[in-house]
C-alpha cells in the first residue's frame, strides 16, 4: 500500500512499527536494503511527513473541485452568470444557506487558496507529534506570515 503511494521510499512492514516506540529509537535491525542503518529513522520520518503532505494536498484539491463543480452546476440551473467580483468572507455563509451559486464558487476559490495552508498546518502537527521542535518553530513562522497577510489584506 505504502509502496504504491511512495515509490521513492522503501516501505517498512506496518507490524514492525509499534506505536509505543518513538521513531528516533528504532533499532538498526529494521533497516531495509539499500539504506544505511543510521539513516533509517530519518527516512522513516521523511516518509511520514510525505504522507501527511500528500494527503492534505489531495483532500484540499478534491474538496475544492467538488465545491467548484457544485457551484458551476447551480449557476447553470439558476441561469446565473459567474460574478465579476468575489464576495467578502461574511457574505459566503449566508449565501451557502440560501443555495446561492455565487457563494459556492467563492467558497471553492477560498478552499483552493487554503489548500497549501492546510498542508503547512498538517506538517506543523506532524513535526509536533515527532517532537521536532526546530521545524515546529520554522513552520510556525510560515503560518505567522500567512496570518499577517490576512490582517494586511483586510486593510
Amino acid at each position: 500500500m505504502n509502496e504504491e503511494k511512495n515509490p521513492g521510499i522503501p516501505a517498512i512492514p506496518e507490524e514492525d512499527l509499534p506505536d509505543s516506540i518513538h521513531i528516533r529509537d528504532f533499532p538498526a535491525e529494521l533497516a531495509t536494503a539499500g539504506i544505511e542503518p543510521e539513516e533509517e529513522p530519518e527516512i522513516l520520518a521523511r516518509r511520514d511527513l510525505n504522507q501527511v503532505i500528500h494527503s492534505m494536498l489531495t483532500v484540499g484539491l478534491v474538496t475544492t473541485t467538488v465545491v467548484l463543480l457544485l457551484g458551476f452546476a447551480l449557476s447553470i440551473i439558476y441561469r446565473q452568470p459567474l460574478a465579476e467580483k468575489a464576495s467578502g468572507f461574511s457574505e459566503i455563509l449566508p449565501g451557502l444557506r440560501r443555495g446561492d451559486p455565487e457563494s459556492f464558487l467563492d467558497l471553492g476559490l477560498l478552499l483552493l487558496i487554503a489548500t497549501p495552508i492546510l498542508r503547512v498546518i498538517g506538517s506543523l502537527i506532524e513535526f509536533i507529534s515527532k517532537r521536532n521542535w526546530r521545524y515546529t518553530y520554522i513552520t510556525s513562522l510560515v503560518l505567522l506570515v500567512l496570518a499577517l497577510s490576512m490582517m494586511l489584506g483586510k486593510g
Partner: protein, 269 residues
C-alpha cells in the same frame, strides 16, 4: 457562456505550453489576459495567482508522493518566500498598473534569457552535512543523496523570488529552480519538484491579499484555473516528446513579443 469557454481554452493552452516548456502559466497568462481580453493588470494578476496555487498543489502532490521534494529545505525557504510574497502582494495592490506592466516586461525578458541557462550535465550531488536527504532517481532506480550549500544566500534569493511572485502573480519557479540548483547544490529534478511544491504556499500568501482586495474575479479565475490544470496534465504527457531547439527559440521570441506588449501597455495607460 462563450466567454467562459474562451477563457477555459486560454487556460488550457497556457497550461499545456507552460508544462511543455517547464514554466508555470502565469508568465503567459497575464500578457494574454491584459492584451487580448482587456483585463486590468491587477485582476489578471489575481487570476494568475489562483491558477498558480492550483497547479502547484496538483504537481506538488505528485512530487511529494514520489518523495522527490526536499520538504525540510522547502519549509525553511518558505519562511523567506512567504515573507517576500507578503511584501510583494501589499506593494502590488498599492502601486500603479503602469509600473506593474513595466516590471512584468522586465521579468519576461529575464525569463526569455534564463531559459536555456540551466546546465544539461550537472555536477554530481554531494553530502554536505547540512540538510542531507535522498530520493530515488526514476531513470536509474538508484538512491541519490545530497546536501545543501549556502543556505543563507538561498534564503535571501528566495525572499526576492517570493517578492516577484507576490508582485507580479507568477509562480516564480524560473527564479527558484536556478537558486536551488546552481547556488545551493540541489539536483535539478529535486529542485524542480521542491520549487513546484513551495510555489503553492508562496502564491497563497499574496492570493489572500488579492482576494480580500477584490482582485480575484470568479468569472475569470475559475475557468482559467480549470483550464490550466487540464492543460498542464496534457502538456506533461506530450512534453517529453517535443523538445527541439527550434521550438525553444520560438518560445523565447514569443516571450519577447509579450514583453513588448507589456511595454506598450505601460506606455499607453
Amino acid at each position: 457562456m462563450v466567454t467562459i469557454l474562451l477563457i477555459l481554452a486560454i487556460g488550457l493552452v497556457v497550461g499545456g505550453v507552460g508544462a511543455m516548456m517547464g514554466i508555470g502559466g502565469g508568465i503567459l497568462l497575464i500578457p494574454i489576459l491584459t492584451a487580448f481580453l482587456g483585463v486590468p493588470i491587477k485582476t489578471a494578476i489575481g487570476t494568475s495567482i489562483v491558477c498558480v496555487i492550483a497547479t502547484s498543489c496538483a504537481a506538488g502532490a505528485v512530487y511529494v508522493g514520489r518523495g522527490m521534494t526536499h520538504n525540510r529545505l522547502a519549509m525553511i525557504l518558505e519562511v523567506a518566500t512567504t515573507a517576500g510574497a507578503l511584501a510583494g502582494g501589499v506593494t502590488a495592490v498599492l502601486i500603479s498598473p503602469r509600473l506593474l506592466a513595466l516590471l512584468f516586461a522586465c521579468i519576461l525578458i529575464y525569463v526569455a534569457f534564463i531559459m536555456h541557462r540551466l546546465p544539461k550535465e550537472e555536477r554530481p550531488p554531494v553530502r554536505t552535512g547540512a540538510l542531507d536527504t535522498s530520493y530515488i532517481d526514476p531513470r536509474t532506480g538508484g538512491r541519490v543523496t545530497y546536501g545543501i550549500r549556502r543556505l543563507g544566500m538561498g534564503m535571501g534569493a528566495s525572499f526576492l523570488a517570493g517578492n516577484v511572485s507576490g508582485l507580479l502573480g507568477i509562480g516564480g519557479g524560473i527564479i527558484k529552480v536556478p537558486i536551488m540548483n546552481l547556488m545551493m547544490g540541489v539536483p535539478l529534478r529535486a529542485s524542480i519538484a521542491t520549487s513546484n511544491f513551495m510555489i503553492g504556499i508562496t502564491a497563497a500568501t499574496s492570493g489572500i491579499i488579492y482576494y480580500m482586495s477584490g482582485f480575484v474575479s470568479p468569472k475569470l479565475a475559475i475557468p482559467t484555473a480549470l483550464g490550466v490544470l487540464a492543460g498542464a496534465q496534457i502538456g506533461t504527457r506530450v512534453g517529453g516528446r517535443i523538445r527541439s531547439q527550434r521550438l525553444r527559440q520560438i518560445f523565447q521570441l514569443l516571450l519577447l513579443a509579450f514583453a513588448t506588449m507589456m511595454l506598450v501597455q505601460a506606455w499607453m495607460k
